[in-house]
Symmetry: C2
Subunit: 534 residues, 2 copies
Amino acid sequence: MTAEIWDVIIVGAGLSGLNAAHLLKKRNAKLRILVLEGKDRVGGRTVSTNIPAANGIDRWDLGGQWVGSTQTHILELIKELGLETFLQFNIGKKVLHMGGPDARVRTYRTSIPALSPAVLIDFTHLLWKIDRLCATVCVQDPSKTPNAVELDSMTLHSYIEQHAWTAELKEEIGLCTRSVFGMEPSQMSFLFFLMYAAAAGGLLPLLENTAGSAQEFKIRGGTQQLSECLAEHVGWKNVRLGSAVTAIWQDAEWARVTTATDTFLCRAVIVTCPPHLAAKIHYEPALPSQREFLTQNMPVGHMIKFIITYQKAFWKEKGLSGEIVTGASTDSPIAVTFDATSPSGNAALVGFIAGQQASQWTSKERRRAVISSLVKYLGPEAASFIHYEEKDWAKEEYSGGCPVNVMAPGLLTYYHPSLRKPCGRLHWAGTETATQWCGYMSGAVQSGQRAALEVLAELCPMTLTQEEQEAVQRSLNVGSPAQQPSSTLSGLPTRKTAVVAVLMLSAALFLVHRPNALLKVKAYLTNVVFKKTV
Amino acid sequence: MTAEIWDVIIVGAGLSGLNAAHLLKKRNAKLRILVLEGKDRVGGRTVSTNIPAANGIDRWDLGGQWVGSTQTHILELIKELGLETFLQFNIGKKVLHMGGPDARVRTYRTSIPALSPAVLIDFTHLLWKIDRLCATVCVQDPSKTPNAVELDSMTLHSYIEQHAWTAELKEEIGLCTRSVFGMEPSQMSFLFFLMYAAAAGGLLPLLENTAGSAQEFKIRGGTQQLSECLAEHVGWKNVRLGSAVTAIWQDAEWARVTTATDTFLCRAVIVTCPPHLAAKIHYEPALPSQREFLTQNMPVGHMIKFIITYQKAFWKEKGLSGEIVTGASTDSPIAVTFDATSPSGNAALVGFIAGQQASQWTSKERRRAVISSLVKYLGPEAASFIHYEEKDWAKEEYSGGCPVNVMAPGLLTYYHPSLRKPCGRLHWAGTETATQWCGYMSGAVQSGQRAALEVLAELCPMTLTQEEQEAVQRSLNVGSPAQQPSSTLSGLPTRKTAVVAVLMLSAALFLVHRPNALLKVKAYLTNVVFKKTV
């Protein structure tokens, strides 16, 4: 077996790896860059597919689909590649079902669900506490967060049990965790949860589909185009599909990367695959124990996404937005749905089955349960669909889960520094290593850029500006006293906001039994308290 | 590449794999059994080595070393193989250092540490609560434990924060967790902790070195002999060292097992390696998602073991047992030490550096810090040692950690059934899959037996007795209503014990400020409350 020689090998042809390759090429066209990918396609956790629809065939995303206006890294890339975005439709009444199969199905119009007064107060209070904690989190080095050990020693579930008062809010948080992470609140460190929210600018941006939040825009033609365009720029001859990396050896001169059939030599490697897959690669010399302990403890979520197409968007005609939110206590397998009508007008809904619920149903039962839930919440028209398309990301080879790997308790304070720290010629990227919108497509792009700059600093430092060289140094020196204790995105609630929140709480408490006045309070809370913090 | 044909292939030549092979051979001598091992030795997490000592060279264990009289599976094997055990020396004063570098170093003679009265009461109360919970745990199917979801949604740390009152007890629990699991209390599910203790008959048996506990006996000549004798019985020609399994394919007729250089076909496979290593093997068809999610969330502990030899056991001459217990708050890297004088009289100490502390020191600093700690606690003679031998199990290839994999929160209630559930021709063993003394050598032996019986039930059911066939069915049908809600070993505290504990608590509270009377209370607590429950 003779080895091909390259300058840089990138493991994984998702957004992170291809963006790293793209940046390397842009800075130094002479660099020989090879991207190795286990799957038979580019895009990683983004994949777009043709689905039968009202006017023939149309295209939908079965993986990552949304971007938001504070996600600067992905927005710049979208602009550079000449792609277009369009708003997530969210006009009309939303449906909420919590508290068991027999509980009342409620509708609401605000971005905050139709919570009962007590739950709303509970939610406001909890949100205020979590956002205050978020503001103290050091995303770059979470061990520097005040009280880090304690926050990392408990699960999100334990925090909620201690600080939420109402059963409904606890159920809501479970739903949010499933929708955002594909996981239960019991499975992640509370400090990790705070770090993740801080990297997005607060908790609400993770949950909403309003301006600045995670579910704001979609990409016309689908998100997989981003990776396809990048592969085009990098050159398809430099992207090998069906080439899963099995081992990486390093010596004084070379890194040697092997797949089942080939061997490659190079000067630097960027590993971009999710931590649980990076952990399956054989490394020689072995990686530092801390790195191994870290990647062995970053479970990936379980998310099943479905797209269901219709002749027309009957929900809109009924004044519904298409958004349904259901708790695990109901008999619906759905966590959340949204309108997914295409820019060319083909009516569709998109939905997610996530966390524990994704393991509870067989494929056939699940489909039947999804349809009957849609009928229950949107009306009998939901049964007359054109096509039901589903993707269980746990079953996707070289993904094994979606949307993101979280951290179990007790990791961030001990092992976190090894998340981004290069090991010799090995550099680490992937959305899990991002410090802004970690876990999202934007984080993938940021992490690819950061790793590319690290490699350039090693192989051709002259291609970097002074600022970039300093940024690389700062990233490599996490733990230095100069570190800022907060993400630049972090939505710092001011003292004023805190005072407003407390006042609102008192007022809301007073109004608990006055339903008419309550609607105004809700609107006020939504506009004044929530919007100001993001 | 032509494939060799075998009946059964066993992945891993530790106690579990070799015991499975041994049992298969005993039941059906015609079965062609091959054991594949990545390391260049047998024994897995047991390894014995020659170390310079007072009278020349002697042999010590650098991995698993203790057995106890309730560990029936390993005791039967020891007997069958004709090996001998000897008691762990524990006569004399023990040293305890908790509460920071400047806290008083205390000594005590009982099996329970020299706790202050308030801490002793706190400990009694906590132990009583934990043992009561242990008695409710269904080891075979932890999701059947009352309140399972809640117990599995919190870390051990969170439980201790809620239920222990004194800072010293919290520090003690940290020390116990490090010593038993090589891990911090923040890193494991509280339900997992309860299950682990229940599988050992309660919490105290995990911690003590008295009759029936985990640290009762050692094996003359070392524990690796067990695996070496088993390999002898199985036939060394059937054990291939340096043969790490990289992939397992299954079709209707065969399982195909590959290493870097060879391919084997067989009818059944038993995978015995620790879960985080089993997760690195490539499986086709892919394993069920639940199994993948489980093994991705079972972190292994970090344990460094040292043996230090001396001209004479100077600690005994001073009336000390050699047992030192130090908290993470002190400047000592040691979690715990014991006398390790060999049966032929070569003086030695054995000690453990575990959990977070195992990551904090470089090898050179650590050795210096260990010696200076021994000098501090045992006297200046500790500096004049013959030899210092150390093993960092995190750096051992095809182990990557020791002594055991735990479960992070949120797993037992969702994914646990896949721990032992066969996947086609694939069967799972290893101490993590045991239901009695899970995590110990005895658990490894039990799990190997269970997996061997599963394979026999498939390949040659006539070799099984009726009881064995039923046992296999019971094990495969975890979740059936006939399941007993408690391990047979579980030390059920009776109502009487509970009453005694409450009475003792009241008495102890009364005696808090009467130090003379306190010694009697301690002895009483130790004899009446603790011993009765195990």
